[in-house]
Symmetry: C2
């Protein structure tokens, strides 16, 4: 997605892919380096071949990124300094708290006593997360009592020295997300959207979120403040809980184009990918306004294991004006894996969401 | 452009490029075959490696294309049979005339007598064109009297056996264009747009054309009829003259995505590239409706010779909502060469065109 936005501006892309990688982006450029993220020499050589480097995941050690940038002399955005503030969930939450952004109650837990104390203070169930490396519910466990709390702590690596965070279970009305693009030209914030999750996987995104515009604005302000708190350059996504009391708590962030912002491809004047490319190239950022009053995105999750991946019963989507099908070209389909998405633009959010669900109901992928 | 539409559907692309080619698309795939269009063996091997083959130019001999398709067994759209009906301008005009589509008056000219007779019958000035291979005014000459008529005839290769057509100079009110996508699922026609030319080069496209909706519809009907006349599968562009008497005459056609349809990228629900990909893959065609009431496209022509090409003073475009900059990434900038374009969406055609001109006025490229 970012690649095509770059191509639109006449910019070539190069990809640093790990050896066992088979990502779709490798089929979009002749410039592919196959190596791994523990080979600094290859990383530096790759960076030297580029004018600017950006990242599509946040799991590479910030010290290594700093060495790559400093030894190659090639700018890297988001910067290693930003990654230092967010690569560990505990440090990240601290960065945001210091900027006055409300986050979900949390604590580092290192033993049974901590697990019990957290449950007593914040109630059961609660969440256990590893401080580093989790996404989409992987690396997260919901725990309901001391018995499974310790089992989860163990399975997340807590007894082998991994840092584990306990996070209070927030009774939320809705989950919200906001994307922010930022560079030296300024800051552009996307509409506040609602994300709908099932089993910790986002199944749908609705924009704008069907909430009081004041709350939308509040979420946007918090997202901007969060980006400033980590001196972010690039595109950032923030996921919030909207509580029963209309409090907005920051839950997760991602320093890259994010699934919650895929609806912006057709839904907004400039997509999150377009502004990602602009942000890291220090170009003026583009308008984030919605193209139609309502946008609904449905994630297309794998319904079966097959290789190569295929999609069936998509024809109705293709015939529907304002419906846009994306099939990612991943080689392997797995049950529950994000294999594509569909975005539908409309005038009314409920109607648009209803039609979007109808159009995608029979998809097999 | 077609590549990114394919990527959106998880489809990989491969490119057959001539040896001296340095086209941007080569930077968008690892699958590049470097050969030439007189190497049937390479063409067949290339076609065998693909599920379907399509073309971005119409200058390859249809007999050769037929051999490639038949020896590889890979479908090719537009088909060689379609190319047979359009590769020679005389035969093409005949194909369209047979379907009742009005074309500009023309005749094959082989000597001085023919040149004089055509001028006498249709008036001076008129146009001389080689039957094969011209585009964007290359291979076209405007002639004003017998003296320069014969010189032009000579320079176009008429005295060396090239077939030369004389075409009457049409006093037109406007030049129009219509794109049509067609495959076994059906036919989708784009709005009738106006193209504005300077020195035979299209400098701007306005959609919909500011003419009576009945005339828009007439042009769309002629474009559909023309596509059916050549049994076209894929995307086709038709350029028409609208005469002072509101007659619509077919001037040129192109069996591929065409510069007159670049405005559809952001201007229409499905772009000409999206429908090109769908058409040749036998997928359902997408809606061609306009996303906003008015669309203006300005072609960005090279203002200086430089390599690598660069673009200056584009920042205002990037800041304008509904303005979309495309810079093609061609390596070499030449004065007058199409190096990119800008599309602006709006509510009112005159205002949109005016703002589009203002935004692009200072571009250097």
């Amino acid at each position: 997605m970012s690649s095509c936005e770059a191509f639109d501006l006449g910019i070539q892309i190069a990809v640093f892919a790990t050896a066992k990688d088979t990502e779709p982006v490798e089929f979009m450029t002749p410039h592919v380096t196959r190596s791994s993220f523990d080979n600094l020499e290859d990383m530096v050589a790759f960076a030297k071949s580029c004018d600017v480097v950006t990242l599509e995941n946040e799991f590479i050690d910030s010290d290594l990124l700093m060495k790559m940038r400093d030894q190659s002399g090639t700018p890297l955005y988001p910067s290693p300094e930003t990654f230092k503030l967010i690569e560990n969930k505990k440090i990240e939450k601290g960065s945001f708290e210091n900027a006055g952004i409300p986050v979900t109650p949390y604590a580092v837990v290192v033993n049974k006593e901590d697990l019990a104390a957290f449950g007593e203070k914040h109630g059961w169930p609660y969440l256990l997360k590893s401080s580093k490396g989790g996404y989409d519910g992987y690396g997260n466990e919901t725990v309901t009592d001391m018995d499974n709390a310790f089992k989860a702590f163990e399975s997340l690596g807590g007894t082998q020295g991994r840092e584990i965070l306990a996070e209070a279970f927030v009774n939320f009305r809705k989950e919200l997300a906001v994307q922010v693009a930022r560079n030296d030209h300024g800051t552009m914030v996307y509409p506040c959207c609602e994300t709908i999750q099932e089993n910790h996987i986002c199944v749908a995104v609705l924009s704008p979120a069907a909430i009081d515009p004041k709350l939308q604005k509040k979420a946007q302000e918090l997202a901007i403040a969060a980006t400033e708190a980590i001196d972010g350059k690039g595109i950032y996504a923030y996921e919030f809980f909207l509580t029963e009391d209309n409090e907005i708590l920051l839950n997760e962030s991602a320093p890259r184009p994010h699934n919650s912002g895929h609806y912006t491809i057709e839904g907004c004047a400039t997509s999150q990918f377009g502004n990602h490319v602009r942000a890291v190239l220090d170009l003026p950022l583009g308008s984030t306004e919605l193209r139609k009053p309502a946008v609904a995105l449905i994630n297309l999750l794998g319904t079966k294991h097959r290789r190569p991946a295929q999609i069936d019963h998509y024809e109705e989507i293709m015939k529907t004006p304002d419906a846009h099908l994306h099939f990612y070209g991943k080689l392997q389909s797995k049950i529950g894996r994000k294999m594509g998405h569909m975005t539908l633009l409309g005038e009314d959010l409920d109607e648009t969401y209803e039609l979007a669900q109808k159009l995608t109901k029979n998809i097999e992928i």
